[in-house]
């Protein structure tokens, strides 16, 4: 199930809220656990088994670590957990990719598995690993209650698309969290904002990208290609950050405080800064569990560069089982090393706009690598951006520009902290009445518009059949 579906909004959310707030405190984690399993099972019932297996396994591993703490066997639980989680991830996500690559290189005919990817597996395997690692390191206490642990693993708000919640960040909240109207109201506003970002901005600007990306490279113009990749950049940002907003908002409604996952990445002045603002929970995960254990920046420049390379190869690979994602990771790895070595110093001396333009260009070029799984298509698109298509601009491109200009402008504003700052200023200066009106309009307006778009998606007059 996804948040931006009528099933979620009309059936699941009302039901889970009702039951969650009706049961006493001791039962709340069980309610979350059960509903999360239903949420997960909705699309692919079989893989619930996988999730339950993961839950039991990591729960046991946590106990093993605790039991043998201080002895030579302490690491058994840790190693078991990491190996099994990585194997699961590898088996379901990467097997076909490697079979395909091997077949391609050696001309073998190994049949592919063609298994559907279990939803959210990249997220929850990372979360469960963080649990055993945190317990092993003593960063968090072992969870005795398997229901509470199950609620952590399967927690539906962040199950499908993150943020990746480290166990240590949420351990205390699992056992003890406060529920209040204040939190709930904040959660509502956050959730509705995320819904709007996903349904109104991402889906609609995504239409522009899907038209342009389907156009034959020979018919595409340079302006069209740039417009397209900008549209893609907005689509992926509003889609992903909208989903994170919804997750954080829902979390608040249920009393959780998740860490932020996006912080206006497109206003960055360097790629280093961009990655501190984009998908922050993934960056934190790689930093805490890979980069720092490898030695981070404390063991000299050469090793630091090696560590950056490792992290970025893995980051690229994590995003998808295809070489273009690896290349995308390498692209960022190289840029980040360059920035570390000299570029950041230069950028600091240059006027701010240089940094902004450089960052946006780098990110947009990155999106080209990201968007096309087929290298040939990606390369052809890149060439069109730099003038190898059918000219600079055409009537078709002009129509797209005019049609989407207002939406693009809304996207630009929404990608900056402008509205947030405005809201903060309002909060400081305006009376309660005005603020309440603003909040109500925001909640009512965004939900009504989102519902209108969700329903219209299925509105499909079938005119020729009966006419």
């Amino acid at each position: 199930m996804v948040f931006s579906s009528l099933t979620f909004l009309l059936l699941f959310l009302p039901a889970v809220l009702l039951v969650y707030f009706a049961v006493p405190r001791q039962g709340k984690n069980a309610v979350l656990f059960i509903f999360s399993l239903i949420f997960y099972a909705w699309g692919e019932p079989i893989y619930v088994v996988l999730m339950l297996f993961s839950t039991v396994l990591d729960y046991t591993c946590g106990r093993l670590v605790e039991k043998y703490r201080g002895t030579s066997k302490q690491k058994i639980g840790l190693i078991l957990s990491v190996c099994v989680n990585l194997s699961l991830l590898f088996f379901f996500k990467y097997t076909d990719f490697f079979i395909g690559t091997l077949n391609g290189i050696f001309g073998w005919g190994i049949p592919q598995l063609d298994l559907p990817l279990p939803i959210g597996i990249s997220f929850y395997t990372f979360q469960t690993m963080s649990y055993t690692i945190d317990v092993n390191r003593g960063d968090a206490k072992m969870q005795r209650n398997i229901i509470s642990f199950g609620a952590y693993v399967s927690l539906f708000p962040q199950l499908i698309a993150g943020p990746i919640v480290r166990y240590q960040d949420i351990a205390d909240q699992l056992d003890e969290r406060t529920l209040s109207f204040d939190k709930f109201g904040d959660g509502v506003k956050r959730f509705v904002t995320g819904l709007g970002k996903k349904v109104l901005l991402a889906n609609n600007i995504g239409l522009l990208w899907s038209t342009i990306s389907k156009t034959n490279a020979a018919e595409l113009t340079a302006v069209g290609a740039w417009l397209g990749i900008i549209a893609f950049g907005f689509q992926i940002y509003f889609d992903f950050s909208g989903y994170s907003d919804m997750a954080i908002g829902l979390g608040k409604m249920f009393g959780f405080e998740f860490l932020e996952n996006f912080n206006y990445p497109y206003i960055s002045k360097s790629v280093t800064e961009f990655w501190r603002r984009w998908h922050m929970s993934l960056g934190t995960w790689f930093r805490d569990y890979i980069y720092i254990p490898l030695g981070g920046n404390r063991k000299g420049l050469t090793l630091q560069i090696r560590n950056i390379a490792v992290v970025w190869l893995l980051t690229g690979f994590w995003h998808g089982a295809s070489w273009n994602f690896v290349l995308w990771g390498v692209f960022y790895g190289v840029l980040l090393v360059c920035e570390k070595l000299f570029l950041l110093k230069w950028l600091k001396k240059a006027p701010a706009f240089v940094g902004h333009i450089y960052t946006l260009l780098a990110v947009l070029l990155g999106w080209v690598l990201f968007a096309f799984e087929d290298f040939g298509q990606g390369w052809a698109f890149l060439k069109v951006m730099f003038g190898a298509g059918s000219g600079f601009i055409s009537d078709g491109t002009l129509y797209q520009v005019f049609s989407y200009l207002p939406l693009l402008m809304i996207c630009v504003v929404a990608a900056t902290p402008l509205m947030k700052k405005l809201y903060e200023k309002m909060t400081a200066k305006c009376g309660e009445g005005l603020l309440l009106t603003a909040d109500s309009v925001r909640v009512l307006g965004l939900s009504a518009l989102s519902v209108a778009y969700l329903i219209s998606g299925s509105y499909n007059p079938f005119l020729y059949f009966r006419f």
Binding site: G185, S403, S447, A452, L463
Partner: protein, 367 residues
């Protein structure tokens, strides 16, 4: 305090959504969309296991959402405000015109349909029967000046040229329609031409046959309704769109009409019961029927292979013939040649609007 009110507001919204769903009766059919709506799916272990049940529930919720058509209106208005020049496959053109978007045609179906008609034309010619093809450009072509600036728009003349090159006996009505494009020849909210537009094509067809058409004043004009909102409107459900007027033209008010070989016989080509519904264009010849025969006072027997564009066109030609037969290939499964032979057909007209002509898969069955 503020957050408390917001919390309660949100819970009210959710409750209202749930309540509205459970206390409204599910609809079976959507007049606007002309399709049956999804009903509550039945549960089975198999559909749950495959995840199909989830998809069906989502489709059901969307189809049965309270005030469904109104929500589409909200979306259309939002798209208009956000500067979009199109919505749901329809351009918002000048003067309130809602015009169907056609940006590309399927080459394969075009070739197949034109080949099929050519074969029919050749074999009928051997029996001494002339077949003509009237390819009618739609509003997107004739009224292209009204389209939004730079709007992508497929060139329908390419199809006419190609059909001629392949040897089809084409009656080109483009010039006739272009000459009158300032007049009310296309509906603003529907993909059809008006009766007036059909008359100009009729006149061009008569001239192509070397005959002189009667002036439009030879027919009595009767306004059938002035509150028509058709197919392109249904796609956007746009409240600020204009209403269309439907006119009927007849020399004599009554004709014997026989639908589907005696299935339904009546004395008028206007099925006025449709004027009370939302589908008023269906008044002409009882919507779409597999076969229709109209009896007139003229000579010869005309067979029209057609889409719904012929329904108002036929008003003008039925008095010229003893019998006018119409076949809708979407619903007719027999052999056209056999039909022509058995009914003593003397002349054949293939009448389609261009986008339909090259996309209708029924046409390949005509030969």
């Amino acid at each position: 305090m503020r957050n408390k009110i917001i919390s309660i507001l949100f819970c009210l919204i959710l409750t209202a959504g749930v309540a509205a769903h459970f206390f409204t009766v599910d609809r079976y059919y959507s007049e606007n969309e002309k399709r049956t709506l999804k009903q509550l799916p039945s549960v089975s272990l198999e559909t749950i296991r495959s995840g199909k049940f989830g998809d069906e529930i989502e489709a059901y919720l969307a189809d049965q959402f309270p005030g469904r058509d109104g929500w589409v209106t909200v979306k259309t208005v939002a798209e208009r405000l956000s500067g979009k020049k199109e919505s749901g496959g329809v351009y918002f053109a000048d003067n309130g015109y809602l015009i169907e978007i056609h940006t590309a045609f399927s080459g394969r179906q075009t070739v197949a349909n034109i080949e099929a008609v050519k074969r029919l034309q050749d074999s009928l010619a051997e029996q001494g029967i002339t077949l003509r093809v009237m390819l009618v450009p739609t509003a997107g072509e004739i009224l292209s000046e009204k389209l939004p600036s730079y709007a992508p728009n497929a060139d329908q003349q390419e199809i006419v040229k190609y059909a001629k090159k392949q040897g089809l006996n084409v009656v080109d009505v483009t010039d006739a329609l272009n000459a009158h494009k300032g007049e009310y020849i296309f509906y603003k909210t529907d993909h059809h031409w008006t009766s007036l537009g059909a008359y100009y094509a009729y006149a061009a067809w008569m001239e192509a046959k070397g005959e002189t058409p009667d002036p439009i004043t030879a027919w009595t004009r009767e306004q059938l309704c002035d509150n028509f909102r058709g197919t392109t409107w249904a796609k956007v459900n746009y409240p600020f769109a204009p209403f269309d007027v439907i006119d009927a033209y007849y020399k004599t008010e009554h004709h014997k009409v026989d639908y589907n070989s005696g299935n339904y016989v009546t004395d008028t080509i206007y099925e006025r019961k449709f004027l009370n519904g939302t589908d008023q264009y269906a008044t002409f010849f009882n919507s779409n029927q597999a076969t229709t025969v109209v009896f007139g006072e003229g000579e010869g027997k005309l067979l029209i292979l057609k889409d719904s564009y012929a329904n108002c066109f036929a008003q003008f030609c039925i008095d010229d013939y003893a019998e006018t037969h119409m076949i809708d290939l979407r619903f007719f499964s027999g052999s056209v040649q056999k039909y022509a032979k058995e009914n003593g057909i003397t002349e054949v007209l293939v009448l389609y609007n261009i986008p339909n002509f090259i996309s209708d898969t029924g046409i390949t069955r005509c030969s």
